[in-house]
Symmetry: D2
Subunit: 345 residues, 4 copies
Amino acid sequence: MKALVYNGPHLKSVEERPKPTLEQPSDAIIKITKTTICGTDLHILKGDVATCKPGTILGHEGIGIVDSIGVGVTSFKVGEKVIISCISACARCDNCRKGMYSHCLNGGWILGNTINGTQAEFVRIPYADTSLYHIPEHVDEEALVMLSDILPTGFECGVLNGKVQVGATVAIIGAGPIGLAALLTAQFYSPSKIIMVDLDDNRLKISEKFGATTTINSSRNDATKLIMSLTGGLGVDTAIEAVGIPATFKLCADIVAAGGTIANIGVHGCKVDLHLEKLWSQNITIKTRLVDTISIPMLLKTVLAKRINPKLLITHHFKLSQIIEAYDTFGSASKTKALKVIIEA
Amino acid sequence: MKALVYNGPHLKSVEERPKPTLEQPSDAIIKITKTTICGTDLHILKGDVATCKPGTILGHEGIGIVDSIGVGVTSFKVGEKVIISCISACARCDNCRKGMYSHCLNGGWILGNTINGTQAEFVRIPYADTSLYHIPEHVDEEALVMLSDILPTGFECGVLNGKVQVGATVAIIGAGPIGLAALLTAQFYSPSKIIMVDLDDNRLKISEKFGATTTINSSRNDATKLIMSLTGGLGVDTAIEAVGIPATFKLCADIVAAGGTIANIGVHGCKVDLHLEKLWSQNITIKTRLVDTISIPMLLKTVLAKRINPKLLITHHFKLSQIIEAYDTFGSASKTKALKVIIEA
Amino acid sequence: MKALVYNGPHLKSVEERPKPTLEQPSDAIIKITKTTICGTDLHILKGDVATCKPGTILGHEGIGIVDSIGVGVTSFKVGEKVIISCISACARCDNCRKGMYSHCLNGGWILGNTINGTQAEFVRIPYADTSLYHIPEHVDEEALVMLSDILPTGFECGVLNGKVQVGATVAIIGAGPIGLAALLTAQFYSPSKIIMVDLDDNRLKISEKFGATTTINSSRNDATKLIMSLTGGLGVDTAIEAVGIPATFKLCADIVAAGGTIANIGVHGCKVDLHLEKLWSQNITIKTRLVDTISIPMLLKTVLAKRINPKLLITHHFKLSQIIEAYDTFGSASKTKALKVIIEA
Amino acid sequence: MKALVYNGPHLKSVEERPKPTLEQPSDAIIKITKTTICGTDLHILKGDVATCKPGTILGHEGIGIVDSIGVGVTSFKVGEKVIISCISACARCDNCRKGMYSHCLNGGWILGNTINGTQAEFVRIPYADTSLYHIPEHVDEEALVMLSDILPTGFECGVLNGKVQVGATVAIIGAGPIGLAALLTAQFYSPSKIIMVDLDDNRLKISEKFGATTTINSSRNDATKLIMSLTGGLGVDTAIEAVGIPATFKLCADIVAAGGTIANIGVHGCKVDLHLEKLWSQNITIKTRLVDTISIPMLLKTVLAKRINPKLLITHHFKLSQIIEAYDTFGSASKTKALKVIIEA
């Protein structure tokens, strides 16, 4: 089968690989129909993710059709359509029992990282019963590729962790795909203000279409000053960090109200300063999270009920044979205006 | 009346001052019977608290008797015994409505800071209806001085913010009065392990008496290594920072389990490093808080029910005329083994 | 001044009464600009509310202008526009401290019940600081009359108590004004299905306009059967009782899913059967509540942010001199299709 | 093997049965070392549990040793010691994902009900990975038999559902084994008062030893009056129903404070009256629950930490061959003073 293989820092290629086979009773083999590329895949390609060894097939998102199942799999049958979670959850360890699948002691984020991933014609999914989700009849399947990772991440790490409340004020720092996923899902809770901050006017324009009530280009404006002024000097109830650098974390800490919450989604490469000499008395909460994807069933219901349209995040389409081109497009987002790209296998 | 007055950095004296008078309809004048000294008073005397101007009477803790009340006060009568909260709460601003009295837009921590405090024969208490608490008959009043600040601080900022759970593992870094207050109140929730870390063997010995299941002298031991080993390599569910310096905050971040919580009580004088390059994916929560004292009524019930004995924290007694000596004793705690000192007015 | 006075069961009249005066330091006198009639007023007129004595001016909703304030009032000034809460909250008793204003030990629901109410030119409001809310500039004031009682009741007693969740299934039994208020505010949380049940086709048609995803006329249909079928045999996550009779409570109990919640808003006149022989093992929650109106500030933010349009509930307008006619219209809702009527003073 | 078999209403016998065998990949066969009898077993024997057919081996509690495992079982090995949950949880259905194992769509309470149970030398446990729990070294194993059902039931259905709070007031109606399990586990949260109500003086005496602060024999006293007086006329924060008849539910409703919670543990055989004409405005919560046993790991930690001593509940010991005698003893508890009986296999 065809697969996109990581060959070490800055090296990737489309290769012919053997179709995966069942290894454990809880495994399923899924024939991929659609997959996508994540910012994390770009991190791997830069060599930033030490756990991912050269030779690994990348990709941890996608939808497909059950091709075969292990003897222990009881929730899925061959031929059924499924969403693949980016997180493999054994459902039996202490962390899974708490709903913290991201820290599953037997799985977690392993797809396209420590085991072969979804940017291929087939993929082996461990703990299939609790790492796959049924796709109902008569639903736009393409939208559901967004449920593998990006929507749950925006929702769980940004919106749930940020305790977005009805009538409250939210600032999202970073209007890339993940910030936009937080923007879309924050609206589930009807906040009164959602302020988007980014350096890219195109993304801010998209933010407005997606429901932002205010947008701020921080390259031309003092975001802290503007946000404090918009909130009567009090700051925001929720600040969502969706970039992953010290400057954006600092902005969150500068604008969070007493009693407010900073939800970190960004993947950070270095430490940040935490000004506890000011914040110790501010009754704030800072939360971090690797997505657990426990919200997939709930998000699926909101898609079916048309409370959210995840397709808004999809800007480009490619065939699996064009995946190198897809990477180029996704990797030059400021030029191509790409958000999420769909790759049909 | 006699009062302990802050006269600028490193300067304090017992002075004769006029008895305070009612200024607002919501004021009450309280005749102090017992007060105490807080670590924060020492901070003020170092010149660290810019809001406290020379000439201010210090002190924000104590119990007393209602001497007079403004026309708007309905919950208290002259002659009644009361606990004074260290936080003055108007109960009508947005923050008070949320129970965040510490950030009361009309009060907050003002006693012995921006207005005259409790280390005197009388004190004026603004918003008396919601800043004082009745003392029931037949109760050991001295114990209740601990309800003005230190027990609510240990409980709200450490235990509640730290989400201490039944059966869980807690580490408290710092076994000073505030760490010990967290230790006493953490036991309300029956955690299975409470590990105390300090540099002072005497305080660790006290910790054991107060209910710690393990004590670690971090001057002689690698606390991180020991705690990780005690928790099967997972780390603690709750890490309570009760010192206020970068090293102790770092220790908390090093020992907190995936999914765990760091509760900061310490008053920090400078920024700390937050290693988000590791923590971004660890599903942790960091919480800060200036005590709200909303737990005073509940803590009072636990004292009356003998579920907690706050007198354990009291080591020394002085008369108001000896308050300079009381400051010396409290300020040399490693030598005098002082925890909290009672000053009788 | 003119006022609508309850003169005993089935007796009411517009009378000339003296303008109220300040009695306590915490009082304010409000010049009413707009008020409305509540289903509870009809209950009083039937003689069902023993606490309301003949001679009482009715009404517990409305907006107005501060006419005078007691010396203890600090949050409001003469001439300011205000929303009147139907609940008078002292903010200093144990129940108010918990946010349970409805059970304020010094107030609670007293307006138009044990003291004179708002269906008059002026009204005295006890505990004005915490029983009134500022009206901002440039807002459609009429909509805010809905914040005195009906919207907080639908939201607090129905939606919050019912734990309405994103993606979940909600049934509201009763499409009168209060059921419709629950319908409007349930949408703050983006449930996937909201099923309205009523006997009146007009109200069901309105429900559809207000956002119901399914409507059921239970006079012509087996509501239980239909709802179980709509939910795959599982039942609804939240069942909101908005009528107040045994049959509608039974319907809620019959359709609630294992793990689900029944939120009772209805004012019941007699006991109901609770089938614990079936429900003991169903992991359900039943909640009751007299509105606390703690959500007024939050609801105000959602109105300002146009996340909700309370004017949808207003169907008729009258002058205070026409209030008898207003009662007739409101009391014959099935004929007049009245929801809420506005009375201008 | 020997087993206790239900042969229809009022009929049971010790019979020789074939040792169970693995049927599904997720099964394990457990050699029972200790089991016990539950009040529910008596219900079955009365013919009250229609799902339990004649011929079924009874029992849903116990500890044992893994005898064999299916190919899908990954968390347990042959020879390991285990606690058996009374609830079989597939961990993959929607209800299990929410932690509501009691309503597992593939399991739930099936042991000794719809499939053969634990009152035998061996038992087949479906979904072994998530229905068994490891027993650590050097622990008193007998105490752990109480973790199969009774302690989790008292804790989850009574204490957690009852939202027992630090400093609060709790009444437990019924001092049988399940009420006593609630009493023991309520103390995890340090309530200030725990009032036990029963008709049996012996059980009330035991309650005192177990930590009750007040006991009331309701055959000789007006429990409602006494409890209202003990709580200053306000009622209790938490009322736990641990009997299962209309009179005890009514008592709970009569004594619950405004804002309080009724937690039902009792297995009811008929409907009860719910006086919504009084309770609609009282801001109360009523909760029901079939035990989920999600608290077993946490309870195990509290046993290991000696925060609770479940052996207090054990009054009698028998061999499996004496199980008929054990049933007689357990069934005549008022005479034999039996709480829980241990049966060694």
